[in-house]
Amino acid sequence: MLPLLAGAVGMLLPLSQRRLSFGLAVGALGASTLLSIGLLLGPLGAGREQAPFVFNVDWLVFGGSTLKLGVVLNPLTAVMIAMVSFVALLIFIFSHGYMHDDRAYARFFAFLSLFCAGMLGLCVANSLVLLFLAWEIVGVSSYLLIGFWHEKPSAAAAAKKAFLVTKLGDLGFLVGILWVYGQTGTQLLFDDGFGILEDAQLQSLRAATTAFFGMNLAGVIALLFFCGAVGKSGQFPLHVWLPDAMEGPTPVSALIHAATMVAAGVFLVARTYPLFATDPAALEVVAWIGAVTALLAATIAVAQRDIKRILAYSTVSQLGFMMLGLAVGGVAVGMFHLITHAFFKALLFLGAGSVIHGSHHQQDIFKMGGLRGPMKITFVTYLVGAAALAGVVPFAGFWSKDEILLAAWHHHAYGPFVLTMAASFLTAFYMTRQVALVFFGDSRNVDEQGHAHHAHESPLSMTVPLMILAVFAAGIGLVGTPWNNAFGHFLEPHAAHAQADLPFMAVATVVAFAGIGAGWLLYGRLAPASATDDPLARAQPLYRWLEHRWYFDELYGVTVVRLLRILAQLAELIDAMLDLVVMAISGGLRAVAQGFFWTDEHLVRPAARLLAGATRAGGAALSRLQTGRVQRSLSAVTFGATVLLGLLLLVMFAR
């Protein structure tokens, strides 16, 4: 709520009010952070899973039914809002340094506040309508923020693409919402036993079967919700918008496309997990899509040159991991990876922002190098983040990723398991590649004239958040280790949690180190001296295929975009025909108006004129009596008197 107010006020402020905008945004978010952490530690302790704190309010009343909006606070909510608020707060502080010289500074913070409002609203929503509202707010903020530098045509196009692609997913989501509302009569998730996620409704939804591969209704609705998640979280096949979204400022990428908005999709699945749990087929779909996405994105990341794009594809890949985790391990497993990922991915993005800032806005990693020296803080924090992502023990990523892989193995989901193992390897590989090329070796940062750019460390407002995030990236995994699964117990006190499996962990670590080793071999030892040489480029045509993102954008361009263009032309044609109809109607009306005019001219006017003439003639006639001669009036009087007298006599004699 608080960020919403800050965002609303911020929108109204002129661009000059930088400090006020920043203050409002940070103040509101800071308060949110404190509140949410308080909630996390206090009343929403473990054991609240079955009895969440729900608050519903009547919103629209039509006929006999009421549309309610509600807020639910259970451990899942608490975890999400604490993470979102905290990470967002750090990113806000970072943005102050990063966007310092930008003209539209105030607008940036207003949009950021709006985004946070939507995200927090999404996390606390109990009613599907409110959730969808917040979902859309988040989508709009993403559009506004990706296209923040709207003078750049590529940014504007990217924003549009993001919005439209996610809108496709939202369509499925909306259909799911409507269907479940129609079927159960409620769109509240928790409602004193009658909510959608509560037993009574779940049973009825489970009982209903549909023609869709024989799945029960709960499963189908779950899959429709999943459509929304696929769009929002950039899963295959709606992943094409996320890399283009890197056109936005780096803090935006960190906040929206690493830690929070893309996590909204995962959160949705986690929130509505009971629906998914009713039908194993639904879970299987989620698992496969997650695994495929993970591997697909990882392969593409290997061949990218832009530092942010690598991270973007990494995010897509990790989201795939999260989906798989939810599908095979349950809410705790998936959410754990979400939380850890939020921290280290935000760290990595902010680190990338620091690197870009320090390298004079250079984004191609092949044009960087040797930043280890001048940018020490960035280097160390980035290294921590990379290690966490690659899954090096004991950093955060190891524990969460390991849990997912273990769950997949135990669930006998061998296909997805293999895919994600491969993706893990590639993750370690491309991160090492990135780190080696950016920080090690000699600087390759030269412009066209051959002048070397010298890097400098970023200001405190940017490095302090990096350090804080690094601490979390390193340590937060420890709340979910198999020996002390505080996180898991917090979210799911009744579910069984995996026991420590040392051989398994060893295998995972070996895979991670293998990836690091391969990366170091190719890029660390044989550091390319020139700016364009990528050793991997020798593996053509595979490299070209990966570099062009498996040609997905081109595929969509030829099919979907062309279809849409044809539809647009069709619409224009229909529009022209409608125009004709409108013209015809207006012509008819004009003819009628002409008729009225003619009647007016030729009938009404002469009649009026006649009347006037008659009156005037009468008046002229009568005025002739007024002669002005006294004798005439006297004779008139006499005449009148005589007549009266005569009448009187007549009457008298008639008696």
Partner: protein, 101 residues
Amino acid sequence: MISLNAVLMLSAVLFAVGLAGALTRKNAILVLVSIEIMMNAANLNFIAFWRAGLLELTGPLFALFTLVIAGAESAVGLALVIAIYRHFKSVDVANIQTLSG
């Protein structure tokens, strides 16, 4: 001696003469004279009735009133005629038509 009817007849004739004169004369002063005649005829009516014993004190009293008023009215009429003469340079009633409609 003289019957009431006869006097009343005389009075009526006089009135008629006066009326005819008022309506037809060209000269404004003669119109005034005709009006005087009409007034005197009415007076005569009163006196005739008094003489016939029908009115006691009213007859001569009213006649006295009307004589006085007739005198005043004549004065006013003549003043008007003089004023008209000054404006129109004639006393012909046919010329005084400025109030026509």
